[in-house]
């Protein structure tokens, strides 16, 4: 719980990889079924936030790839 809080708190300082690891942990916790409902709800809520963060990161990366590719002459790369 403490961890999740923390995560939520400084989400923006995370890396994609940290977020993904947290997500996978949450999935594991959820799958284990050991979590009380409210904890799992909270975990789930956290995972949603993480998913959003990760997706944003990936989008950003994809965008940058494309942008840089165009900038540096994508066309000349594939001859």
């Amino acid at each position: 719980m403490e961890e999740i809080r923390e995560v939520e708190a400084n989400n923006s300082g995370w890396t994609f990889e940290q977020a993904m690891r947290r997500l996978e942990e949450i999935v594991r916790q959820l799958e284990s079924g050991d979590l009380p409902l409210d904890a799992s709800i909270r975990a789930y809520e956290e995972s949603m936030r993480l998913v959003k963060f990760c997706r944003e990161q990936l989008d950003k990366a994809e965008f940058q790839l494309e942008k840089l590719g165009q900038e540096l002459g994508e066309d000349s790369v594939t001859p």
Binding site: M20, V27, L37, S40, L58
Partner: protein, 468 residues
């Protein structure tokens, strides 16, 4: 017959001829009166055999004897034996066994009648010879061109006449200086000596002296064997020609003179040249001299021509031509070689240029481009793959999360009672009336207040009344 019988009686042996001759020979040769004897006689049948031996017969008015003088004995005879010559032979009687003849083996021979003189002659000859008076080394050559010829002889004899005739004919340039002398008789010798001394004392000197007289007996010639005459001749300051007697006559004067002439005429011929020969020589001399000079000039011309004809003198330009060729040759080589440094360098440069072309700086750019492209491609694909992978990973997580969504239960109408702190309340015992709680539905949360609580109904849970 009778005699034979008698002989047979007296002697037992019959002799052979040889034995008999030997007996005679032994008998004769053992008689001392026959071994060393002197025999006077006249020579006849004289033969001088080619072997050198002399064979002759000695005879007198009534008798004769054969004689032989071997060459070993006769070689030193001072005279030549002749037929009719009276001689005294000294020798031994012997037998010539082959012919059965006895003969006189002559050991020495001397003319008869002058024996004493002969001995004197011989003794004096030996004495003066021992003194070296007759030595061959003392002989002087005669002057070739005598101006004055001294003659020692009788002023009235044939000798001076012959000499004058001969010289006047042969060589009138020579003056004959007659120094008269007696040439015969006991007074002769001193006059000869004096005549010689007169000539020796002359100034200018005569060039040659002829001493002579005509032929005669040994006694007549004797003055010329006198010691004083011989010595006078020997000390002559000029060459002396001795012309005494005939050819066969020998005197000591002949030995002492420089030259012996057989006759006075011969002496005159010896002492002077013949003027026709001289004229011929003189005539020839100028021709020979002239010829020698001509030969010299011709030789000089030949030599000069030979020099002048040498190629270096006749074709002096050849030395230049040779040098010209050398220069042409060198120039050709220069011309040949002049472009060589450039050619060599052009080739070297071309070689470098070819290598430079092969280097393909441009080609290396292409390679670099490809490397660069490869890197770019790798970067793109690697990063793309990473993004793709992470996307898939995220999608997977999202899928799982959807299945695990805890709020899906609430959708069926369930709610979750939460305490003030959001904690889930699972028992009604925790719900005292008046407690404020939260109820979480699938689509939100409401706040409520517990109003009452039912009793325990057998484990079926308490009844809860909520004031929402």
């Amino acid at each position: 017959m009778n005699a034979l019988t008698r002989a047979a009686d007296q002697t037992e042996v019959v002799l052979t001829v040889t034995e008999l001759n030997r007996r005679i020979k032994e008998r004769l040769e053992s008689d001392p009166r026959l071994v060393q004897c002197r025999v006077a006689g006249e020579i006849s049948n004289f033969k001088h055999h080619p072997s050198g031996h002399m064979y002759f017969t000695l005879k007198d008015e009534t008798s004769r004897i054969r004689a032989v003088m071997f060459s070993s004995r006769n070689r030193r005879l001072p005279f030549r034996p002749e037929d009719g010559m009276r001689v005294i032979a000294f020798g031994a009687v012997g037998v010539f066994e082959r012919d059965g003849q006895y003969q006189l083996y002559v050991e020495d021979l001397e003319p008869d009648g002058v024996g004493a003189l002969f001995v004197r002659f011989e003794q004096l000859r030996r004495k003066l010879a021992d003194e070296g008076l007759f030595a061959q080394e003392r002989k002087r050559p005669l002057p070739r061109f005598p101006a004055r010829v001294g003659v020692v002889t009788s002023p009235t004899g044939a000798v001076i006449r012959d000499i004058c005739t001969t010289i006047a004919r042969r060589y009138p340039l020579a003056r004959v200086v007659l120094s008269p002398a007696q040439v015969q008789g006991p007074e002769a010798a001193p006059t000869i000596v004096r005549a010689l001394e007169v000539l020796y004392a002359l100034d200018p000197k005569v060039d040659v002296i002829i001493v002579g007289r005509g032929g005669g007996s040994l006694e007549e010639l004797w003055p010329f064997n006198e010691e004083m005459v011989v010595r006078a001749v020997a000390r002559s300051p000029v060459p002396v020609v001795s012309a005494v007697g005939h050819e066969t006559d020998v005197t000591l004067c002949d030995f002492a003179a420089d030259v012996r002439a057989a006759t006075p005429t011969a002496a005159a011929e010896l002492v002077c040249p013949h003027q026709t020969e001289l004229r011929a020589y003189v005539d020839q001399a100028s021709a020979r001299a002239r010829n020698a000079v001509l030969v010299k000039v011709a030789w000089g011309r030949d030599r000069l021509m030979e020099m002048a004809r040498r190629p270096v003198l006749r074709e002096p330009a050849r030395t230049i031509a040779v040098r010209r060729q050398l220069i042409d040759y060198l120039e050709a080589r220069v011309r040949e070689a002049q472009r060589r440094p450039i050619g060599v360098r052009r080739r070297a440069l071309a070689d470098l240029e070819r290598r430079l072309q092969r280097v393909q700086v441009g080609g290396s750019i292409q390679a670099r481009r490809q490397a660069l492209m490869r890197f770019e491609h790798q970067v793109r694909s690697l990063v793309g793959r990473q993004v793709h992978f992470q996307s898939r990973r995220l999608e997977g997580v999202i899928g799982k999360l959807e299945a695990l969504n805890p709020l899906a239960v609430l959708r069926r109408g369930y709610g979750v009672i939460l305490d003030e702190d959001g904690g889930v309340i699972t028992s009604v015992r925790a719900l005292a009336p008046g407690r404020r709680i939260g109820i979480r539905m699938h689509d939100g949360t409401v706040e409520a207040e517990v109003k009452s609580r039912g009793g325990d109904s057998g484990g079926r849970g308490e009844q809860l009344r909520l004031d929402l």
